[in-house]
């Protein structure tokens, strides 16, 4: 096993060190028996802890556990930092696909980058396995026969947090929305669920993005609205700051509830339980959910910055494991020839792994599994490091994601 791992790592190092002066012919002369996986994500910015090097670690684990390398197939894993910028991401992917002969791109947090890479992979008939990005457009208007959206999406977050909170009594809402496309989309989706469940949206405020560090002004406006729930249609640092300042202004103590629409376990860690307690959020994976997820965490081993795996990490693992199964089933030659064919095969096979259990992949590229509504524990309830969530509700797989016919995906024929 250790030999496999070492060869794997050497292969990776060689791939990473491929100089730009490599003649074009070199790429063509690559062994036809090698599958090249490119992990593209944020290695330096806001999403580093929830994807970043941890995703690469998860992908390596999947390669190792698939056992495919012991059966004569080479697998090389490379990683790169897209810095959350679509242009940086598309430059890297162009080089990976056009010059270095990569077969599959994995992770890609940040919706804007994922959409750009989605187009490139489709044009070149390669495979894209999205774990980190949120936008449900990937299985909607931008859906592609070459893309699978694995872990979560905005629709699911809105359904989970929006719908369930209304059911739990939070009828009136006020939104603090980051003023850009993602924030607007999230606000719109959640508003729909709130209204559908009989709730009411009292108002909202748009916060300049990026560059807002002080949310107190907006929180005071939210307080003034007397809404029962303050929906945070933002992400990363914005969410962290708004939750932190809400605690400071005693907003939650005065009966208003915060609903984080895109909160990851790394965010909760950054906030600390003292501040984050009581926050309601939706996720598809939690490391301490059951024996299987704890086993996954154990196998993954020590992670960069000592984080626990996020749902994005779990998604990378699960997606690559399933991808390699499909590759083995159809043969490396055929898999390298057509990305769409691999995705087709992946959709035909049921999925099963220790992170998400049994699942399926839908025609529009949506991976289907249950989602969970969590509440962040109070410091008294937490029994150890990273013991952060308690399960409020399980949303069954068939209800967790947008119905197939509502996404507007052109691949779906009715």
């Amino acid at each position: 096993m250790s030999i496999t791992r070492r060869t794997l790592l050497t292969g990776t190092a060689a791939a990473g060190a491929l100089p730009l002066v490599t003649p074009l012919r070199h790429a063509r002369a690559q062994a036809a028996n090698t599958i090249r996986i490119g992990v593209l994500n944020d290695q330096s910015g806001l999403y580093r802890d929830l994807s970043g090097p941890g995703s690469t670690q998860a992908v390596r684990l999947a390669v190792q556990e698939s056992g495919i390398t012991t059966r004569g197939v080479n697998v090389e894993v490379a990683e790169a930092d897209h810095q959350n910028k679509p242009d940086v991401g598309s430059t890297i992917v162009r080089q990976w696909l056009d010059r270095d002969g990569f077969d599959v791109i994995v992770d890609v947090p940040t919706s804007s980058v994922a959409l750009a890479v989605n187009t490139l992979c489709r044009e070149r008939n390669k495979v894209l396995l999205v774990s980190g990005a949120a936008t449900s457009d990937l299985t909607g208007s931008a859906c592609s026969p070459n893309t699978i959206h694995w872990t979560y999406d905005t629709w699911m977050l809105a359904r989970g947090t929006g719908g369930a909170t209304v059911a739990a009594g939070g009828r009136t809402w006020f939104f603090i929305t980051a003023d850009y496309a993602f924030g607007h989309a999230l606000e719109r989706d959640v508003s729909n669920f709130v209204r559908a469940a009989g709730g009411e949206v009292l108002g909202g405020v748009r916060t300049p993005f990026p560059g807002t560090t002080d949310f107190s002004s907006f929180l005071v406006q939210a307080q003034r609205s007397r809404a029962q729930v303050i929906g945070l249609a933002n992400a990363g640092g914005d969410t962290i700051n708004s939750i932190k300042q809400a605690a400071e202004f005693g907003i939650t103590r005065r009966g208003q509830k915060l609903a984080g629409l895109l909160v990851f376990i790394s965010d909760v860690h950054a906030l600390g339980l003292q501040t984050a307690q009581g926050l309601v959020l939706t996720a598809t994976f939690y490391w301490d959910l059951n024996d299987n997820t704890r086993e996954f965490t154990r196998r993954l081993g020590r992670m960069p910055n000592d984080v626990r795996p996020s749902m994005v990490h779990a998604g990378c693992y699960s997606a690559v494991l399933h991808y390699l199964k499909a590759v083995e089933a159809m043969g490396v030659q055929a898999a390298k020839a057509s990305g769409a064919a691999v995705v087709e095969r992946m959709k035909a096979m049921p999925t099963d792994d220790i992170c998400f259990g049994k699942g399926t992949i839908r025609q529009d590229g949506r991976k289907i599994h249950p989602a969970y509504l969590f509440e962040v524990k109070s410091p008294q309830e937490s029994r150890g490091p990273w013991d952060y969530y308690k399960l409020l509700q399980t949303i069954p797989a068939d209800q967790a994601f947008r119905p197939l016919n509502e996404g507007g995906c052109p691949l779906v024929r009715t």
Partner: protein, 307 residues
Amino acid sequence: MPRSQAIALALLVAFIAAAPFILFPVYVMKVLCFALYACAFNLLLGYAGLLSFGHAAYFGMGSYLSAHAAKIWGFTPELAILTGGLTATILGTAFGYLAIRRQGIYFAMITLALAQMVYFFCVQAPFTGGEDGIQAVPRGALLGVLDLAPDFTLYWVVAGLFLAGFLFLYRIVHSPFGQVLKAIRDNEARAISLGYRSDDYKLLAFVLSAAIAGIAGGTKAIVFQIATLTDVNWPMSGEAVLMTLLGGIGTMFGPVVGALIIVTLQAELAQFGAWVTVIQGVIFVGCVLAFRRGVIGELQQAIRRPL
């Protein structure tokens, strides 16, 4: 043109002609776009002594407007790039008018702040597509006839555009106008006392620099088929400074070499994440402390000929 510069130009042309056969064409096109951007910036810093920390505004707006023109208005690529250049010219005129009211460090801070304003505008304006940027920009057909979709075809157009821009800048620097700029850079009071209206000269240099930066941005949008907030955010301004500083401030070929080094570095280090930032910082500090002339500046010193 002195012989040293003629030889350097011949080498540059030879490199550009040979590059797509040896290197990945998209990568060379990226180098050329950034080289033109840095050259435009250098016109201002190297020959007029004005440090603009906000050139991303012109580069980015050029990029956005070119992308918009090509995608939404259906312009041919040359018209789209021209639209980008024109936008940057207008913006440069307005900002230049404000910024040249102060000198030195103030000038740098004002250009930075104005560029940041443009950035915030781009984040919110609907036509820029916010976070997603303008994606899937068609490369189109040159003059409506030559299909630019293949990298190899597009390459020659970009190469031609770069050389045209480079020679245009060379012409400006070596014209009487360029001489007056240098006089203002070295001693503004004396230039004024000689009867030159230094503000007019500085403004014109600013506008020209902005215009060419806009064309460089527009070209980049066509090459990568995408225009995003990266192009208009302040680190992009910092990159122009870094490329010029590293290559050699006030040399014709310095920014080209600087762009080549920085773009290569970014591509090679992409996998090391945040270390890219650290390494760029180290280059900045190293250049300022020990290597102020830059690569070409040192070379120039060694051979005692202008480059």
